[in-house]
Symmetry: C2
Subunit: 290 residues, 2 copies
DNA sequence: GCGAAGACCTAGTTTTTCTAGGCCAAGAAT
DNA sequence: ATTCTTGGCCTAGAAAAACTAGGTCTTCGC
């Protein structure tokens, strides 16, 4: 009598994934966003799971859903489970094409720091196939298909590539108009929407309380702001590691010699385990100079 | 620019599951068995995964498939991942219906040890809904939907409920024919196909080298063999903890007073974490007497 | 009171998954 | 040596699952 009784099979995996995403992100719409489906699809999957379990996992409220007790108890395990699944997928990716490396970087870093180094990199590592994706938020290396991240953050979070120092810069033609900090009030002060705090921080550190009120265009892309500064459109709060070349080659100058450290740094993180191709890329980037 | 680039989505989860099962069990057919689908379905899922990764994970050979290097590298992560997924599902089950408990037991244990105790158990724990499934092999509590297992095994594997002691037993009417061990050769010696080693072990321990050759019917269900012994069909190698009541109530007697320990024991394992309902069931079983 | 968010429902469509049945290769058995 | 058995592959069609679309409802914030 070795009749293996047909095991009562578990719930559909996709329903579990939908639940996990919805619970972690706190809403069906956000989950739908992450999973690239419509919110209705997520609602259905979650409902299917709740039907399977015979119990509700979310409290439905008018302005969204919130996890109930049951849901709160399973969420940690669910997240661990899908972390593991994602780790397996990444491992599979890495094993299947070990020479294909994917870097995630802040748009500004991708365009201003990484992009100039890429040609040399590809020359030094011709056998590696390097892709770059720009994004605002650092991805989770355990989950997302990236091998390396380059973002600004706390120096403790990873390997520090450069410290983050800011200082006003502008086209050489404009430098003459800037004798002292107060002159800034008479010029356009370019800024990046993601780094809105840069000007106030610098003014506070460099000029003390006597900070002039500033005005000027706001860009959503730092590289664009840099280009505008080169074009003479105004004074930009420059992040030194991103405009090294423009400074060295004279397209930009720093009218005030008062750099201010932001306390952050350009951080590199590597996907674990680090295999040879990734280690080579990381080494090449560490040593890269412009 | 907060355009989250549509993440390159991973492979279908079901394909990963098919791969994991096939790799762990070493064959598409066995995986199909476990997943309750046809082997063709598993083959397709695995192929889909290999296509996604762009690389083969199995070597196809005429007498089956074997993992190749790539597959071997991802299998550990895959197994961990699906262990976690299963753990989450079990947690969900347990949280959703905490009073529904499912015991997995060896068929002999289910029928001869557990079954007589169940009425008392249900009386003592009326709020618990106790199910029992008989199976030959202990299930993996991390993966399969059981809360408790009752199997014979090494005492170190779990909590020992009873030690496993064997001794020949028969109907009282037959006992007169058995004055010494050698008399066994003249009677039917009932045995269970899953415990073929019992007679040889006992003979060796109890009778030394002078073990007579035995003959008799073989049963695939131990409870059936016990019933036949009660009916006077022959001498059965009895596991004491399974036939306590028959001995006490005189339906069976032990003609030789030479019990032999098999070195195994009746072992109880509990699914972690142990919640109140399961703890109550375990306590009730520990204290249960016939 | 009105618009925006967020979720639900249902019907219908699209995609995925599964089965069935035939085929093939290589060991094992006769 | 021939036949049988095992285990996998393939394809077409069927079945099941998942998704979308569009309409509705409720509550919050203005």
């Amino acid at each position: 009598m070795s009749v293996h009784p047909p095991r009562p099979s578990g719930p559909p995996l996709n329903a579990l994934r939908a639940f996990e995403a919805a619970a972690r992100l706190g809403g069906f719409s956000r989950a739908a966003d992450e999973l690239c489906v419509t919110p209705g699809a997520v609602a259905q999957q979650v409902k299917a799971l709740e039907d399977w379990a015979g119990v509700a996992l979310f409290d439905r409220q008018a302005q969204g859903v919130v996890l109930n007790d049951m849901g709160r108890q399973v969420l940690p395990l669910a997240t661990r489970a899908f972390d593991q699944v994602a780790a397996m997928v990444q491992e599979l990716r890495a094993v299947a094409s070990p020479n294909r490396l994917h870097i995630a970087a802040l748009p500004a870093v991708a365009q201003l720091w990484l992009s100039p180094r890429l040609p040399g990199l590809r020359r030094a590592l011709p056998d590696l196939e390097i892709s770059v994706t720009a994004m605002e938020q650092p991805p989770n290396l355990e989950r997302d298909p990236f091998d390396m991240t380059l973002f600004f953050g706390d120096p403790a979070e990873g390997e520090q590539i450069a410290d983050d120092v800011i200082l006003p810069v502008c086209a050489p033609a404009l430098a003459g108009c800037l004798a002292e900090v107060a002159d800034l009030a008479r010029l356009n002060c370019l800024s990046d929407s993601a780094w809105a705090g840069d000007w106030p921080l610098w003014l506070q550190q460099a000029a003390g309380a006597e900070a002039p009120t500033l005005r000027g265009p706001v860009f959503s892309l730092y590289a664009l702001a840099v280009q505008e500064a080169v074009n003479g459109a105004g004074v930009l709060m420059g992040h030194r590691c991103l405009i090294e070349r423009d400074l060295r080659e004279g397209r930009l100058v720093a009218p005030f010699d008062q750099p201010v450290a932001t306390g952050k740094a350009l951080i590199m993180q590597l996907r674990q385990p680090v295999r040879t191709p990734l280690a080579r890329l990381a080494a090449a980037l560490r040593e890269s100079r412009l």
